[in-house]
Amino acid sequence: MAAEVLIFNLLSAVAIVSAVAMITMRNPVHSAIALVLTFVNVAAIFIMLRAEFLAAVQIIVYTGAVLVLILFVLMLVNPDDLPEFHSGKPMQNVFGFGVGLILLAEISVAILTRTVVAEPGPWNEEGVAAAGGNIQVIGQLLYSGYVLPIQATALVLLAATIGALFLGRPDEDQEPSPKRRTVATISLAHTRGADDDLIPALRAANIKREAGDRDLIMARDADEFTTSAEEEEKKGQSE
């Protein structure tokens, strides 16, 4: 049916032209609009290729969410003075287009010289219709053979959500948090916490141990042993 080919070609042409427009537009907002056009055409092509569900998802996700987000960010980052630069170095452009052309040529050759070896599967138009439609078939396949990938995708989306929340959170106050006290104190209170001979020496020297090769006994904070020892002493006296 020639109309089908015609429509396909038309859609393809619009998609390609608007894609080219996207990378040539100076204003990124215009680029985004061109991309919307491309995506809508891609969705239409999906319908032609018997992928109605994907077409709807393409519109909802890409145009409805991703591009709206991109526009959102475009407006948010620099609303008054959106950068007008196009591309900096001419050499970059030349190289870019050159590489693109070579790759296109290569892929074209690959496409034109290909030979089909695969056998057609069961999901032609009649097969899909018999199974209840495109969505039904995708649903059945997804939740029978692809349960694990679905779960993994769900995890990826969750991680992305959390990541976005993290990236988008307001800047924390710039003042540094108060430094943690790192000064160690010496436990004098509880004899169990220190060398037996350490105690009188410590008392005499007030803080430092005199001669000797052994380290001081460090406590994490001054009260680590003090309270318990006092309690014990009180208890001892009362008895």
Binding site: H30, V36, I59, I60, V68, L71, M75, N134
Partner: protein
């Protein structure tokens, strides 16, 4: 070109024109109802009981000067209202207005298209609709407009999710994304003892219905969720710089969206054309009118939300609720209690 396609085209034209006419009088009805609620009279000078007021308004907007701000992004500025206005009625294509009837010997379906992804189609078109507002807000080169656009973007994306998820429950129960199929299922009668109930999804999905209602109001940027245009804060928001018939495009697009989403809600939750006696399009109209009245009622009653409240409502209240609803529905379906 076969006859079926032709009849679809013809029907589409009819629906479009009816929608446009309805939309014009929707503004009138809104003003009247609001007036009644606020103990006023409302428009009553133009024509009998002010019935010609919408036409007068339309003419006024058409002949007004079309102002384009100097620093505006001209092309987008011109494009944006069109986008809004064109996309708004497109979603109505999938709404079934009844079964097929025979006109002049031809079988004519009372819907433009019965596609198997109708619900998704509706959501897709709805998500596209916001582009008009965003681009309009951007192109105006006005801070207020830009803020309005930004708000619209965030709000619509958030409530789009709620809207879509609230429909999942219905989809689980019906097992189809086709609206015609969904309506057909709802026209069955449910007998519980002495009770004869219609199998409307509002009965099996009450929570989803309420959430859908809230999300629909937000999706159409209507009060109390009209933050993108909040007159008191943003002096009109995205359409501050628009005037004349470009403004009217935005204005009309909003009303068309309201009507379409009301039709959609009536179709999904209230059985569409199904009614106690003599099924037909009038039942759909009646149900849609209830929704429209609800819209107006809401606007006169509830004050506007603050922006953080709006977002908090979507993400912290409605999203968990709607997920719970999906979970429960899934379990119910799993245990074979699908038909309420």
């Amino acid at each position: 070109m076969d006859a079926n396609l032709l009849s679809s085209y013809i029907f589409a034209v009819i629906v479009l024109n009816v929608l446009l006419g309805l939309m014009a009088y929707m503004t009138y009805i809104e003003r009247k109802v609001m007036a009644a609620m606020q103990d006023r009279i409302g428009p009553n000078r133009t024509g009998p009981v002010g019935l010609l007021q919408p036409i007068a308004d339309g003419l006024k907007l058409l002949v007004k000067e079309d102002i384009i701000p100097k620093h505006a992004d001209r092309r987008i500025f011109l494009l944006a209202p069109l986008l809004s206005f064109v996309l708004a009625p497109v979603a109505a294509a999938v709404i079934p207005f009844g079964d097929s009837i025979t006109v002049f010997g031809h079988e004519v379906n009372l819907y433009v298209a019965d596609i198997n992804v109708a619900v998704l189609y509706f959501l897709a078109i709805g998500s596209m609709g916001v582009f008009g507002i965003i681009l309009g807000g951007y192109a105006s080169a006005n801070r207020y407009s830009l803020l309005g656009g930004l708000r619209a973007a965030a709000q619509v994306i958030s409530y789009e999710i709620i809207l879509g998820l609230s429909l999942i429950g219905v989809i689980i129960l019906s097992g189809s994304l086709s609206l015609v199929e969904i309506v057909n299922q709802q026209s069955e009668t449910l007998t519980i003892g002495p009770l004869q109930l219609p199998n409307w999804f509002i009965l099996s999905q009450p929570l989803a219905f309420i959430i859908f209602l809230i999300a629909a109001v937000a999706e159409t940027n209507r009060a109390p969720f009209d933050l993108p245009e909040a007159e008191t804060e943003l002096i009109g928001g995205f359409h501050t710089e628009y005037s004349g018939f470009r403004f009217s495009f935005f204005f009309l697009a909003e009303y068309i969206s309201m009507i379409v989403i009301s039709l959609f809600a009536a179709t999904i939750f209230l059985g569409g054309t199904d009614g106690p006696i003599q099924d037909g399009v009038w039942w759909l109209a009646l149900k849609a009118c209830i929704f429209l009245f609800f819209y107006i009622w809401l606007r006169t009653t509830v004050p506007r939300f603050r922006y953080d409240q709006l977002m908090g409502l979507a993400w912290k209240v409605l999203l968990p609720l709607v997920l719970i609803n999906i979970l429960l529905t899934g379990f119910i379906r799993l245990w074979g209690l699908g038909m309420l």
